[in-house]
């Protein structure tokens, strides 16, 4: 135990945390603006933004390689500035964000759609700025839904395997995450090691799901009141 390499836990947590923050803002941004688009455009955007949720993660990873691969135009362009998403730990952020994004986007959109518009209207007639209304009235009113979306996105980012293994592979101490480590250890017949990381993952996921359930219960209570 003493010489155990904790790197996968640390790497998974930082990838999940950073993706979660990114997905939080992008998800809310798109959820808010998609709701105001004309119907056709909204439908198209909705499909594109939700696709990563239904596509196999390996397919998402494949697409990411198509765009950010070091021999692709975008990848080559970024490389000039020293940014390389392939085989780096922060490439994991990209992979996890893309896969977790739809969860945040859809939950936030659902919350925004059930928001009572008259609250925003009354704020406007009182002279409150749209920014104030968004952050102080709309967001608190949709708080439960947005929190649930954030937690789900975090859990998804933490457990991401397919797109991550495609884009950043598995290099111990550099790109290894919990999920890629489990696969690697199991493949090399280290069943005890695999079981250890499985239990860690199980513990984190349980906490996350309990949090979601608690939030949902509170939301139901709030709706009843």
């Amino acid at each position: 135990m003493i010489d155990l390499d904790w790197y996968p836990l640390w790497n998974s947590l930082r990838i999940a945390a950073i993706s979660c923050v990114l997905v939080f803002f992008f998800g809310i941004f798109f959820a808010y603006y998609a709701a105001r688009l004309p119907r056709v455009l909204k439908g198209i955007l909705d499909v594109i933004l939700t696709l990563p949720m239904v596509l196999p993660p390996t397919v998402c990873g494949y697409f990411l390689l198509l765009v950010f691969g070091v021999k692709r135009p975008v990848g080559m362009f970024l490389l000039q500035y020293g940014i390389k998403f392939v085989m780096t730990w922060y490439g994991g952020i990209l992979a996890a964000s893309v896969v977790a994004f739809p969860l945040m986007y859809r939950t936030a959109r659902g919350a925004f759609e059930s928001f009572d518009k008259t609250l925003a209207y009354s704020g406007q007639t009182l002279g409150l700025s749209n920014t104030y209304i968004f952050w102080r009235i709309r967001m608190p009113a949709c708080r439960q839904g947005i929190l649930a979306g954030t937690v789900l996105a975090f859990a998804r980012a933490l457990g991401e395997y397919g797109a991550t293994s495609m884009l950043i592979g598995y290099t111990p101490g550099r790109t290894a995450t919990i999920s890629t480590t489990v696969y690697q250890l199991w493949r090399t017949n280290d069943e005890k090691g695999a079981m250890f990381w499985v239990l860690i993952n199980l513990a984190i996921s349980t906490v996350v799901l309990l949090t979601v359930n608690m939030l949902e219960a509170r939301q139901k209570k709030a709706v009843k009141a």
């Binding site: 008259t118 209207y121 704020g123 406007q124 007639t125 009182l126 002279g127 409150l128």
Partner: protein, 346 residues
């Protein structure tokens, strides 16, 4: 001090077409649900945009399609009391009212105005309550406090009593009516209830399927609605097609009768209306034989339904409403109606 509205907007199944002017005092937009009343208020507030037209308040143009003026709601300074009061659920009473004071930058002045308004609206002791903890009446007062403290140039009320229990409604009507009188500026109120319109307003504009059918003094409108939709909205139960047969005489084919009128009949008459209260057993004028159909009892009154002798079989029975104590022992064979009580509808 006046509001001028002249707007049109395509609204799916009908076109909203509203032209009116409102001055100080309470003006009511009376109409059935979904006739475009609330939409008109939203256009004035700047929440919705008309296709064409012009809206002006106290000489300031709020909207003009030709000059491409469309002030955002924040710059219109128009108070809007929503049907559900739209209190911010995450804020306390105090924070809600402070939202209305966002233009006041001076801290001390802000606190003073807040305190005054809380006292005026009798919200003392409720400052730290959330809206969900308030009664319907307290919610309404908080919403009004939040609006009035914002010092709007006019006030709009959208079905202000619909969210309240019936027993609270009457007490609050009196409270709100007195408050509005004190406010002293233009108040535009939307309702589908003729009682509320009659209780609260000095003037009423009747709206039917998006069209504004002119504005009248409240009492005048109830005495002489002038059109079929206005008669229906003011609660006239008996409306039948009619045509002019003489300067003071009309024929009602579906009832198979002719009626004398007190008002001179114009050529373009389309229908007549008779309020259920105005039939009279002892009136000799416009007296015709009737037969009993059925009745419905209310706490203090009774509705008796009857048919005229020669009434068309497929037409609905006529309603006669009277105080229970005045009900005749035997159902009368004939009934009359004073010529002054025949409403001429065009």
């Amino acid at each position: 001090m006046s509001l001028t509205v002249d707007i049109t907007r395509e609204l799916g199944s009908f076109t909203l077409d509203a032209q009116f002017e409102a001055e100080n005092g309470v003006t009511c937009l009376l109409g059935a649900s979904g006739c475009g009343k609330s939409f008109t208020l939203k256009c004035i507030a700047g929440i919705e945009k008309p296709d064409r037209g012009h809206i002006e308040l106290d000489g300031v143009v709020l909207f003009d399609s030709e000059k491409h003026i469309n002030l955002p709601p924040q710059k219109r300074q128009v108070g809007y009391l929503f049907q559900n009061y739209a209190l911010f659920p995450n804020m306390t009473v105090r924070q809600n009212i402070l939202c209305g004071l966002n233009r006041e930058k001076d801290r001390a002045e802000k606190e003073r105005k807040l305190g005054d308004m809380i006292r005026l609206m009798q919200l003392d002791g409720l400052e730290n309550h959330k809206p969900a903890q308030l009664s319907g009446g307290q919610q309404q007062r908080t919403a009004l406090a939040r609006i009035l403290v914002n010092e709007p140039r006019m006030l709009m009320l959208d079905e202000p009593f619909s969210a309240l229990d019936a027993h609270l409604r009457d007490a609050l009507k009196i409270e709100l009516r007195d408050m509005l009188q004190e406010y002293g500026r233009e108040v535009l109120m939307v309702t589908h209830s003729r009682e509320e319109a009659y209780n609260m307003s000095q003037k009423i504009a009747v709206m039917d399927k998006g069209k504004l059918l002119g504005m009248k003094d409240t009492k005048e409108l109830f005495a002489d609605p002038g059109s079929v939709p206005a008669a229906v909205l003011t609660g006239c139960k008996n409306i039948a097609e009619a045509r002019k047969v003489g300067p003071y005489e009309v024929e009602v084919p579906v009832w198979g009768i002719r009626l004398q009128t007190a008002q001179e009949v114009k050529d373009n008459l389309t229908a007549i209306g008779i309020r259920a209260h105005y039939f009279n057993v002892s009136t000799q004028k416009n007296r015709y034989p009737i037969t009993y159909v059925e009745e419905m009892e209310e706490p203090f009154e009774v509705i008796l339904q009857f048919r005229y002798q020669n009434q068309a079989p497929d037409s609905p029975p006529v309603w006669w409403r009277l105080n229970k104590e005045k009900r005749p022992q035997q159902f009368p064979g004939e009934i009359g109606i004073a010529p002054a009580n025949i409403l001429l509808l065009y």
